[in-house]
């Protein structure tokens, strides 16, 4: 877990709304608690200054932002080494890190139903060169 003063400052004003419109099915698993929420952003590198990776399954890193304590964690996407099925493998990584929302460019057809089954909210962002920190600010 990386946490620096500048990161702390950067996220000081970011308050995320816990989504109230998420529907839960019997397959759902409940996040650790209802108030805290982890948001993952697919990133091209392990820094918040990096641009968002438009690919979900084969992004280089996931930047995981904890909306409760404002900690930022950089998770290397080991699914990138899969010859196939990188998307489902990446979903598994997010699930293992109790992520409840993911922001990326494109979510493929294999990945969508899995994220839905795990009640991980998907958000697509467009725009080349959009940085991770810019996306985090938009979450405000």
């Amino acid at each position: 877990v990386l946490k620096t003063e500048s990161n702390e400052q950067m996220f000081n004003n970011i308050h995320l709304l816990c989504t109230s419109n998420r529907s839960f099915s019997e397959n759902d698993y409940t996040p650790i608690n209802d108030i805290c929420m982890k948001v993952a952003i697919s990133s091209t590198a392990d820094t918040v200054e990096a641009s968002v990776d438009s690919r979900f399954g084969r992004c280089a890193y996931f930047v995981v932002f904890d909306t409760e304590n404002h900690q930022v964690e950089f998770i290397k996407n080991t699914a990138i080494d899969s010859s196939q099925g990188a998307g489902p493998a990446a979903v598994r990584i997010l699930a293992d890190h109790q992520v409840s929302k993911v922001i990326s460019g494109v979510f493929g057809v294999k990945v969508k139903p899995l994220l839905e089954a795990l009640s991980i909210e998907m958000q697509s962002v467009k725009g080349d060169g959009l940085t991770v920190v810019e996306v985090l600010k938009q979450l405000k």
Binding site: Q84, P88, K110, A117
Partner: protein
């Protein structure tokens, strides 16, 4: 069809797409058939088969190619995740805490490792999943077309290609119209060939991909020769390469508007201009020598 001994199998391949594999293979089969050979053309480009556009033919047989995919009986599943760990292809999605387990059929290679993993619990059963079809068309009394066609979304055409070649193997001469490239579908196709005819064009792209094909075939110890299509275009580099590497130049098809028109109308050059029958038969004779 009566069973014959192993015949002679020729694969018509190319690294680069669009160099004229189907043009060469359909005309070769037509020329051989006219010489009273029992011959089968196998369209191994299962991702987009097109030989039938030129040969036509009457459908005489069709079969589905299937593979076994796992089916999870949730009432027996203990959510241990062993099947997911055994799978090398990310085809079983599993999150223990969420008790989510799903078979991603499109990623499954049908290896059966998950069934082995689940042996203590018996929660995994197998069912048939259709990968594609192999259709046989009668062209003339002594020739047929065997077409491999994969289902959209299937990850690999290899099994379908394999089955198509097996169905055609009781013929005296088998001509395989190979898929482009040098990846698994190409390897599967040329594996059963006695000789590989590489079709290229005298352009830098053609030469670059020809070199890759030659290197791949040499690593497989497969004899090969080259047909230069659209001769007259591009540069002399391909000829220099063939001379240096001592690869036989089997035939040249000129870059000719008339030939292009015949092809674009879905006709066979060997029908429209019968002198070409001799050229194709002479090429065949070079291969069997």
């Amino acid at each position: 069809m009566e069973a014959h001994g192993p015949g002679f199998t020729i694969a018509v391949a190319s690294g680069k797409g669009g160099t004229g594999k189907t043009f060469i293979s359909t005309n070769l089969v037509n020329a051989l058939e006219k010489h009273a050979f029992r011959v089968a053309l196998v369209d191994c480009d299962a991702e987009e088969p097109n030989a039938r556009e030129f040969t036509g033919g009457k459908l005489i047989a069709s079969k589905d190619v299937t593979q076994k995919v796992p089916f999870i009986d949730k009432s027996h599943c203990v959510y241990c995740g062993a099947c997911s760990e055994y799978c090398a292809y990310n085809a079983i999605f599993f999150v223990k805490e969420a008790r989510v387990i799903r078979v991603m059929e499109e990623l499954c290679h049908g290896c059966g490792a998950c069934s082995v993993a689940c042996k203590p619990y018996g929660a995994i059963q197998e069912k048939d999943d259709v990968l594609g079809t192999v259709s046989t068309y009668q062209l003339t009394a002594t020739s047929r077309l065997v077409e491999s066609r994969m289902k959209v979304g299937v990850h690999s055409p290899v099994r379908i290609i394999k089955e198509a070649i097996r169905i055609a193997s009781d013929t005296d001469i088998v001509v395989l119209d190979a898929p482009p490239g040098t990846s698994c579908p190409f390897i599967q196709t040329v594996t059963s060939a006695d000789f590989v005819v590489l079709v290229t064009e005298p352009t830098p792209f053609g030469l670059s991909d020809l070199k890759q094909s030659v290197e791949t075939l040499r690593s497989m110890n497969k004899p090969c020769g080259v047909v230069v299509n659209r001769a007259g275009l591009g540069t002399r580099d391909v000829y220099d390469y063939l001379r240096e590497e001592q690869i036989p130049l089997l035939m040249q098809i000129p870059f000719d508007r008339r030939i292009a028109r015949i092809y674009s109308e879905g006709k066979l050059l060997t029908n429209e201009e019968p002198t070409w029958q001799l050229q194709f038969n002479q090429m065949y004779n070079q291969l069997v020598e």
